[in-house]
Subunit: 351 residues, 2 copies
């Protein structure tokens, strides 16, 4: 149920079943090109694939040219009311524009933006938030999923009326359930790629949890083509949080996936310490592998069966398992070391 | 879509639209009654409403009597194969038993457990995990949502055959999407209350994210009556994580809900510091109130409209908003203090 349409943002494909794209947004002044370039490079190293920059004025729009030359990942210009800034950003090489036609005003201006984007192969994101729902819809529906979706549809239609179909859509509320419902509705009503996220998600902890909850619900049903974890925190934390959430959903393509059982009265090894050690030692692993860290012989072997490899703690000693089969039994203090040997052998990586 | 049936666990009502119940499980040796009592009291103070204890042997089952006298919240006995331990736990005053009839063996033994629970008014949780799916189902379906659900249905039918209907069900996989699908399926097929959770969820960070993702999807559709965040971490962390997730979903009934926008190039105040300060100062607030911490005048007033109260940063100064209306304008360094005054006045609480 990924979007049926696909857009091309620089060298990135979004939608139509392409892998999920992680985005973030710079919090530097865009016209401070040194700071912005440094931040985008940092985001890119962390795994960000598309960076948005604020374009509140002409200087910021023109700064895009300088920034563009110095970074690799595509850029999205965030524009609010002034269509001339969109034109300027496109002229300066931006790969994507976020602007709501409803905010631009006259049809002729919308047409100018749509034509410029079309000529340059630049997609437009229509982004409706709880705070930017059209007044008549807000009065009729309140700030509800339905209001957001109709508001987005109106914006998309304005672009379609200009012959522009290279759009993607976001619909963000600050509450998780409303956000989920809005995207579910939109996925039924349009074929455009969906940029998912929760707005005003809050600080690092709450924002990450709100995003995890919304993404879990949406991505489980295949809804969502690109995402941002909006946090009131440095942008690089948004990228780390996005990667963590995708790992939690088994959608991140690289590295070890560690499953470990909760501690309980049956556990006879220091499971928390064991799990932490294993997580730390496998942090840099590239191969996709599932590793089970189990505390007892009651659930361990059964629940560890689906893992590629794992340990299962006993009394002062533990088992090394591969695909549910015991391959070795060693004293507790050798468990982690022995597990690492096994993983090194399986993956061919040095650990 | 909450369960249609309701169960009574001591003084707690689970299912049928009753408020969600937060659970955790002790990791003490149950027979070490002092340690177990201390841990249950700690869990209770943190907000845990039902505590599970491991019952691997007769001594543990008998320890329940001593523990029961010293704690307030109801207890659930975790039993694996031996039906006599279930009988003993019930005799010693436990309020709930987790046991899978499929593990007990002979029908006469299942009947004894069902009869004892019925006589004592003790509900049974049937808990199927990825690792405990019946062998024939595993071979036919793999460890899939379908296999989990059929496995649970078989267990429930064994109890129903004994005239026992006072059950609840859990279906846990270590992957989030499979867990969501299993509960969705089960919610269509049965009327029993559902205990939701992800098993082997992992360490604190990953486990919390996996649980948040699964709970977001399930609770959005009204699926789930009680929950545990399983973590390879001290049990109290499970309770904190559960409360955080419910807060993120706006399902926790108390305290301030803070929404704050991500930082961007438009922000002219130190938004991260502001949001952290507000969060810290409101940590102990009891009243249910939504507080917006917004960074700029472009989105701030609109997106903060739904909040009860909020601040909206400008250049060196900021606005105090109530329900989207500006009520004051103060210098940046007085913003938080002024906001607290406003909240104190609205809630009648001292901050």
């Amino acid at each position: 149920m990924a979007s049926k349409r696909q857009i091309q943002v620089g060298n990135l494909t979004i939608g139509g079943g392409a892998p999920l794209v992680i985005q973030s947004m710079c919090n530097t002044k865009t016209q401070d090109t040194d700071a912005t370039v440094a931040q985008i490079r940092e985001l890119e190293r962390a795994g960000c694939q598309l960076a948005r920059v604020a374009v509140p004025d002409l200087e910021a729009a023109q700064a895009i040219r300088t920034i563009r030359r110095q970074v690799t990942i595509p850029l999205c210009a965030d524009i609010h009311f002034d269509y001339r800034l969109a034109l300027e950003a496109v002229k300066n090489g931006v790969e994507k524009v976020r602007i709501n036609p409803g905010n631009i005003g006259e049809k002729a201006k919308v047409k100018q933006v749509a034509d410029a984007c079309k000529a340059a192969g630049v997609p437009i994101r229509v982004g409706v938030n709880g705070g930017s729902v059209d007044k008549d819809l807000r009065e009729r529906y309140g700030v509800t999923p339905e209001a957001l979706v109709i508001s987005a549809q109106r914006n998309l239609e304005q672009l379609e009326d200009c012959g522009f179909f290279d759009s993607c859509v976001s619909l963000k509320l600050s509450n998780v359930f409303g956000t989920i419902q809005a995207y579910r509705l939109m996925a039924q009503r349009c074929e455009y790629p969906l940029h998912i996220g929760v707005t005003e998600a809050g600080g690092q902890k709450m924002g990450t949890l709100r995003s995890a909850a919304a993404f879990g619900a949406l991505l489980c049903d295949g809804i969502g083509d690109t995402l941002r974890v909006s946090l009131t925190a440095p942008p690089i934390e948004e990228v780390f949080a996005a990667k963590d959430i995708l790992k939690a959903l088994d959608l991140h393509q690289q590295g070890a996936r560690i499953v470990s059982c909760p501690t309980c009265g049956r556990t006879q090894v220091d499971l928390i310490a064991l799990a932490e050690q294993v997580e730390r030692r496998l942090q840099a692993l590239q191969s996709r592998i599932t590793v089970a860290v189990m505390g007892c012989v009651v659930n361990g072997p059964g629940e560890g069966r689906e893992a590629d490899v794992g340990i299962c703690g006993g009394k002062g000693e533990g088992l090394i398992m591969r695909k549910g089969q015991m391959v070795d039994k060693v004293p507790e203090d050798q468990l982690v070391g022995r597990l690492m040997e096994e993983i090194a052998e399986m993956t061919g990586e040095r650990i």
